[in-house]
Homo-oligomer: 186 residues x 2
DNA sequence: TTTATTTTACCGAACGTTCGGTAATTTTTA
DNA sequence: TAAAAATTACCGAACGTTCGGTAAAATAAA
């Protein structure tokens, strides 16, 4: 019997969170069902191509988040570049919950089906770098240096998330966010 | 029928490689058996406590590698500190195969049984940091700064491995290794 | 011949997936 | 506008496969 109507936005969020936390192979259908509040068969109604489609959908959520909180914000000329950057960093802090959350781009990069997600993951990292590059140029860096340091920020954030996630020491993540402005300012 | 005697050292290596590449949940018993050349039941003969014991054994291999190539080398007073550091960096480069290999410490940090490995993983990261801290002090850094930058090196290497692994661009890893000496020298 | 190691064969449980069917909703028709 | 029809959303039950794991037989080593 049909018991209740489920909020679709919440399903998206829970899929994203579950894949982020457990990785592709670790996120079993049972875990995904429990997290979303939908039965397994209902998940297959929404994602006819199964688990892989669910993970790709989670990646689309990330891409959408990046376009909204990083790319769009980096181009928001209504506020000074330094304030924009501050806002972008705060968004990153919120996304990863101060380092307590794993990054989906990373967790989907290993496992039995990692190849299936590689293109989307690379694209997301490029979008992030593009956003940071744009503000860095406005903050006085030469384009080449801006791009180089934007890539470095991706790397720094990921590294800090690995160390914070593995050890529980949130200072890795916290410090890496604090170091971003000086990396992007002339 | 029993066909051939398997080299135990190679089994260790293959376990390490398989867990590194696929993560804990992705490394199925079938994958581990295929990689080592042993049947599943033979793996259970060597590791009576099953898959978790195999992963812990792989972690012990990493710890042993760190003690040998980082901690011991950092204390090898026969050569100048700068040469020691060079050797340590070359070892890291070899371990990760120029960025083509994943890091076991990272891949075992996510998944359904991540908690079971957290302590060992943290210990390994601390050992790495200790080794780099020691040479940094010899190279003129104050102890606090040496420790801080050694932690930063762990983070930098992990971040570069994430980006290189996810995108295929090995320059992340290569550049991060090149930047190590200036981080540890006064 | 005794002991250690690997193998075959197998197990229950969990895996991702599919199916038949029902309640709720939306769309069409009268 | 109200009834009929079509569509959507969901679920219980089961599918075949693969999971991690085990017992007993076979082989190799001592």
């Amino acid at each position: 019997m049909r018991t209740q109507k489920v909020n679709p936005e919440n399903v998206d969020l829970k899929l994203f969170e579950t894949f982020s936390e457990l990785g592709y192979d670790g996120a079993s259908m049972e875990a995904l069902a429990k997290a979303t509040g939908l039965k397994k068969a209902s998940l297959y109604h929404r994602f006819p191509n199964g688990k892989k489609e669910m993970a790709k959908h989670a990646l689309e959520i990330v891409e959408h988040w990046i376009l909204q909180h990083i790319v769009a914000e980096s181009a928001n000329k209504n506020v000074p570049a330094s304030a924009r950057l501050k806002k972008m960093i705060a968004s990153v802090d919120e996304l990863y919950n101060g380092g307590a959350n794993n990054c989906l781009l990373r967790t989907l990069s290993i496992g039995t089906d990692a190849n299936a997600f590689k293109e989307s993951v690379t694209n997301c990292f490029n979008l992030l770098a593009d956003g940071f590059t744009d503000v860095a140029i406005e903050l006085g860096l030469l384009p080449d240096k801006a791009k180089q340091n934007a890539r470095l920020i991706n790397q720094t954030i990921q590294g800090s998330l690995v160390l914070t996630g593995a050890t529980g020491d949130k200072s890795y993540f916290k410090n890496s966010l604090e170091r971003i402005p000086e990396l992007l300012t002339a």
